[in-house]
């Protein structure tokens, strides 16, 4: 189903009701900040959504503002909010929640819920994605462009190494065993192909490390965002395993593996298995010159992945009228059809079960079966590490992980130092 028919369906139902209710003379202007993570012409797609929203809601004007990547969008939204001129609604990281609450700039979504229709809309989201947006008895945002981490693997290289291309590793032991078979050295001893690559650059490692920790039966932060568990045996063990992949088993490139180059490492055949986001499926699909598979994550023993991506937040600095308009816009942007379309256009995981029932996504899954892996893995997935002072805590964790990976510290020392620093930062928030 193409977007035009999505439009018609929506126009037929919600739109007409709204049209009838809204007075034509008063126009409400709202601003919408969004990041585009999948470089390129997606601004056009968003502009298309906004145009359709305008057609249905002639009394609301949405100014959609592309504002860089997630970090830049948060920077812009908070800079603007602090100078008294906040956006009305914005797509920001789900993990920004504590920062935004702490800055007192967002309005909980549940305060807008009034009708049964609203409640039905809210119930349609996957619980795993809603959970991380609930703090202090409020729902602070709704899932929009969500992702999860998956393992891409090169089926041709699996076959060449004598492995079954349809049997990706299910445990850490299998992953190491397969990895060894997939690591190839040339005559002079240089590695020309590595078995596995888990990106470890500053912008990503806390995310994927969260999956390793969950697989090892641990967790990085508490649900209230006030505590971290960096020095627990599960976390230290996960880091030890991460370090061993390079040092002990020699199946992962030494040093820091850059997130941005990992997809091309995989496409070039330098990595036989690579951990990355579902958002990369489109890129891999277009550019892979070999058969590739998408696998859920292995476990030690329980498999687990990590959720990521951005939610829609409504800012409290706007007038009540604007906030109401923003809520309408939020509902529009998170309807089953629109999220399905957005998922197909971008590779994000539609965070509603009813989106996956739409013709749009069913056709897509039929065409690209790999897309379904992300969805099937969601019940096994844990939220991304999320605390107060999230960016600073992530920085502390990432620095610790990198110190261990580069051999500057032992995993145990690195995590003990990180925990001490995190405790120092979070003390203020604990009383």
């Amino acid at each position: 189903m193409k977007w035009t028919s999505v439009k018609q369906t929506l126009l037929g139902s919600v739109g007409v009701t709204l049209l009838a209710l809204s007075p034509a003379f008063a126009q409400t202007n709202i601003t919408f900040f969004y990041p585009v993570q999948v470089g390129g012409p997606l601004t056009d797609v968003v502009d298309g959504y906004v145009a359709d929203f305008h057609a249905q809601n002639p009394d609301i004007r949405v100014e959609a503002i592309f504002s860089g990547n997630y970090t830049e969008t948060t920077t812009r939204a908070l800079t603007a909010a602090r100078s008294g001129n906040p956006p009305t609604v914005a797509v920001l990281l789900a993990t920004d929640i504590y920062t935004l609450i702490d800055e007192d700039v967002v309005q909980p979504i549940d305060t807008f819920i009034s009708t049964d229709e609203d409640r039905a809309w809210l119930d349609g989201f996957m619980p795993a994605y809603l959970a991380s947006a609930q703090v202090d008895g409020h729902l602070w945002s709704v899932p929009f462009q969500r992702s999860t981490a998956v393992m891409y693997y090169n089926k041709d290289l699996f076959a060449a190494a004598g492995l079954d291309p349809n049997q990706p590793p299910r445990t850490w032991d299998e992953m190491v065993e397969f990895g060894k078979a997939l690591t190839i050295r040339d005559a002079s001893g240089n590695v020309t192909q590595y078995g596995l690559g888990i990106p470890s650059s500053m912008n990503a490692v806390h995310w994927l490390f969260g999956a390793l920790v969950a697989q090892n039966g641990g967790q990085l932060s508490s649900e209230d965002g006030l505590h971290t568990f960096f020095d627990t045996p599960e976390v230290i063990g996960a880091l030890q395993f991460f370090v061993d992949l390079s040092n002990e088993h020699g199946i992962q490139p030494p040093g820091i593996l850059e997130w941005g180059t990992t997809p091309s490492d995989f496409l070039q055949g330098r990595l036989a298995m690579a951990w990355h986001t579902t958002g990369n499926l489109g890129n891999i699909r277009t550019n892979a010159t070999f058969e590739f598979g998408v696998a859920p994550y292995p476990g030690n023993p329980e498999p687990a992945s990590v959720l990521g991506g951005g939610n829609l937040y409504i800012f409290s600095g706007a007038t009540e009228e604007q906030q109401k308009a923003a809520f309408e816009f939020t509902k529009f942007m998170t309807s089953a059809e629109l999220l399905a379309d957005w998922g197909v256009q971008t590779g994000y995981v539609a965070p509603r079960d009813d989106s996956w029932e739409t013709e749009t996504l069913r056709n897509f899954v039929a065409e690209v079966p790999q897309a379904e892996v992300a969805r099937l893995q969601i019940p096994d997935s844990v939220p991304e590490i999320s605390t107060f002072e999230a960016a600073r805590i992530n920085q502390v964790l990432n620095t610790g992980i990198q110190a261990a990976l580069t051999g500057d510290k032992t995993p145990e020392q690195a995590m003990r130092d990180a925990q001490a620093e995190a405790d120092r930062i979070l003390t203020v928030y604990r009383n």
């Binding site: 908070l78 650059s201 040093g255 820091i256 850059e258 070039q268 600073r392 920085q395 500057d408």
Partner: protein, 291 residues
């Protein structure tokens, strides 16, 4: 009488600059100074006076120590090397070489390419195995070096980019200055039997001192300001080995939203730069003779 006339004219002439400087520099600078002795206001907790609290935190902050030392190394390498290379390039382009137009254009390209775009190109150069540098080194049996991914090489990899970016730009100024040197002076020196390097040391370099000061000021500013590639490539990693002062301030202010601590860091940076500025103007300026 004369005094007051000067004052009135000066007042009128300085007015536009003064308004803009006060609005966009002095007011925010003073506000930064004040912010640095308060705690960061959060939506739920207003700012409180903490005196030297933020500065005490800084003394104990290992990331600040790394950033400070890294930035000194960065500046100590970038400033002389980029200036030296700029001078060498200018002398080369000024000499009779083949394809001068192309060589000049080649040196100038980094100035035209915005850092934000170029960072990604350099990332390809530094990528292990199939990256350009590794493909080249492989011809000699080396390779597999993760230039941006290990603590020992990452800062140097960024320094190379900065030097690449700045040297060609500075060259233009040296080139212009070289052309201004009266040929008669050089001929006289040649007649006295001075060889090329003696002419360079005795005639060319002294005459180019004002240009050198101009370039030096720019080089110092850039050595502390240019962090676009840190943001695009390493974000201070691995393990803070590429953390630089302005990048750390940017992170603390716009990623951590700890504006008070960022203000305190800014104060330290302003004092550091102020000292360098005083040295440049007070000391060097007097030793250079303007024509």
């Amino acid at each position: 009488m004369k005094m007051s006339r000067n004052f009135l004219i000066s007042f009128a002439l300085l007015f536009p600059a003064a308004v803009l400087l006060i609005a966009f520099t002095f007011y925010p600078t003073v506000a930064t100074l004040i912010d640095s002795v308060y705690s960061t206001p959060r939506g739920r907790r207003p700012a409180a006076f903490v005196g030297t609290g933020n500065f005490e935190r800084m003394v104990a902050d290992p990331v600040f120590h790394r950033a400070f030392i890294n930035n000194l190394i960065y500046a100590a390498v970038v400033i002389p090397v980029s200036m030296g290379l700029a001078l060498a390039m200018a002398l080369l382009v000024n000499a009779r070489i083949k394809g001068r137009g192309f060589v000049r254009l080649a040196y100038f390209t980094p100035t035209i390419l915005p850092m934000i775009a170029v960072a990604n190109i350099w990332m390809f150069f530094y990528t292990p195995d199939y990256g350009l540098i590794d493909q080249f080194l492989r011809l000699f049996g080396w390779g597999g070096t993760n230039w941006l991914g290990q603590s020992s090489t990452a800062l140097w990899a960024l320094i190379v980019i900065t030097i690449w970016k700045l040297a060609g730009f500075f060259m233009i100024f040296y080139l212009a200055a070289l052309q201004q040197i009266p040929p008669t002076l050089l001929e006289a020196a040649t007649l006295e039997g001075a060889n090329y390097f003696q002419r360079l040391r005795r005639v060319i370099l002294p005459l180019m001192m004002p240009t050198t000061l101009f370039i030096l000021i720019n080089a110092v500013i850039e050595a502390f300001r240019l962090v676009d590639h840190v943001i695009a490539l390493t974000r201070g990693g691995p393990n803070n080995s590429t953390q630089l002062l302005l990048h750390y301030i940017y992170q603390v202010a716009f990623n951590f939203w700890d504006t008070a601590y960022a203000a305190a860091l800014s104060v330290v940076m302003l004092v550091l730069l102020g000292l360098i500025a005083l040295f440049q103007f007070g000391f060097l300026d007097k030793r250079i003779h303007y024509r």
